[in-house]
């Protein structure tokens, strides 16, 4: 199948940021990890774009309700496009869709020294 030439190309995000907090060690502060799209190679940009589209942040509530499981980890994802940004906060076991975890995992892996980028 080929893309509809009349459809505009999806706008790439500028920055994707992920912060994890909570869990067994809640109060402990964990650094936010961000990925600047300008610094990615083409394959990474495409991978990130696919994950961002699948995560559909615009279609998510800003905050998934409910405490999740005891000791659930909380993830705060922010995607910034030119001119606007969207954030979503979710926890293990609160019913959020899996693509949110996949996007968060990619961002965390990407900027972790010594880890393979996927």
């Amino acid at each position: 199948m080929t893309a509809d030439p009349s459809s505009p190309a999806p706008v790439l995000p500028v920055v994707v940021e992920c912060q994890r907090q909570g869990g067994l060690a809640f109060p402990l502060r964990r650094p936010a990890i961000s990925v600047e799209v300008a610094g990615l190679d083409e394959a990474e940009r495409q991978a990130l774009q696919r994950l961002v589209q699948a995560a559909d942040l615009a279609g998510q509530p800003a905050d998934y309700p409910g405490p999740g499981y005891p000791d659930a980890l909380e993830t705060h994802l922010t995607v910034t496009w030119p001119g606007h940004s969207t954030s979503v906060r979710f926890r293990d076991g609160d019913g959020h869709p899996a693509p949110l975890d996949e996007l968060a995992g990619w961002v965390l892996r990407h900027n972790r020294p010594g880890q393979a980028k996927k």
């Binding site: 402990l28 293990d92 010594g114």
Partner: protein
Amino acid sequence: MCQHAGCPPHICYIIPPYMTEHVATNAPDPAMRRRALRNLYHQGQLRGMRTAMNQFAFAGLGTGTKRRTVYDAQHGGDLPGTLVRSEGQAAGQDVAVNEAYDYAGTTYDFYFDVMKRNSVDDKGMRLDSTVHYSTDYDNAFWNGQQMVYGDGDGEIFDRFTKCLDVIGHELTHGVTQFTAGLTYSSQSGALNESFSDVFGSLIKQYAAGDTADKADWLIGEGLLIPKAGTNRTALRSMKAPGTAYDDPTLGKDPQPATMKDYYSGSDDNYGVHINSGIPNHAFYLAATAIGGKAWEVAGLIWYETLTTRLQLWSEFKDAAAATREVAQKHGPAAAKAVDDAWTAVGL
């Protein structure tokens, strides 16, 4: 439509669960056992009776029979993952698998030998654990049915199966779920966390044979990877809440020891891991004042309180009143120690 008892409308499972369970337990071929266990799990999920399955699956076994399984999520997010070790199988090369198995066993033994409790549900529930969950997953949690452990990120956190008290903490969330059911928010949530810390610490003390005055009263000691010039001792200190870590990256341990410093914000489900420092410290004070081995008197008082006196929305004052009352069964010295402990933390 299927007329079998136990099959939901429109769905019939041809092979009854007890038969699949027998295959999962006794088949000589590991692949067959694995397939049967996965089928049991998925049937349980489909029927919405996963918890019930855990309870009946080994219901024919005598009281005090441990049943442990460990699964490997292989860095994915699907639970339970692939079965890698079940009860009675020898240790393998995977440290996380061995720790999850061994420490679940130590926790089971503690509850059975000391509290006369047969697993987390008191009905012999199988203890399922999944290791290698997700990637760079800095956490361990109880999902209402099983324990789940991440490997840590190798920079701040080591693997989450490393500490016996952490595994005892997670399994105690299961005990709370089947007893008081303390709602995981605000003071009831902080009590839920505190009972997990109390019994996590007691399980560690029991395994080491420590008396209250010799115990470290730390939760998760060694879980934080040391870094020069910082304090990364543990996640929490019951003896001295607020001193477990102090690090430019991680911040400073914010746990209060008394009601004077009670956290009233909305973070952390209204402070469940923060304000738990207050009842944690009360337990430490009571146990050290009573002396001897903390599980022998103070632990029994807290256990009876959790399992018979508290409920969904119990607050600190309810726990204080209940433990004061239960302590009277253990003599005037224990009663005074518990009373003084709660008074010292402002309750």
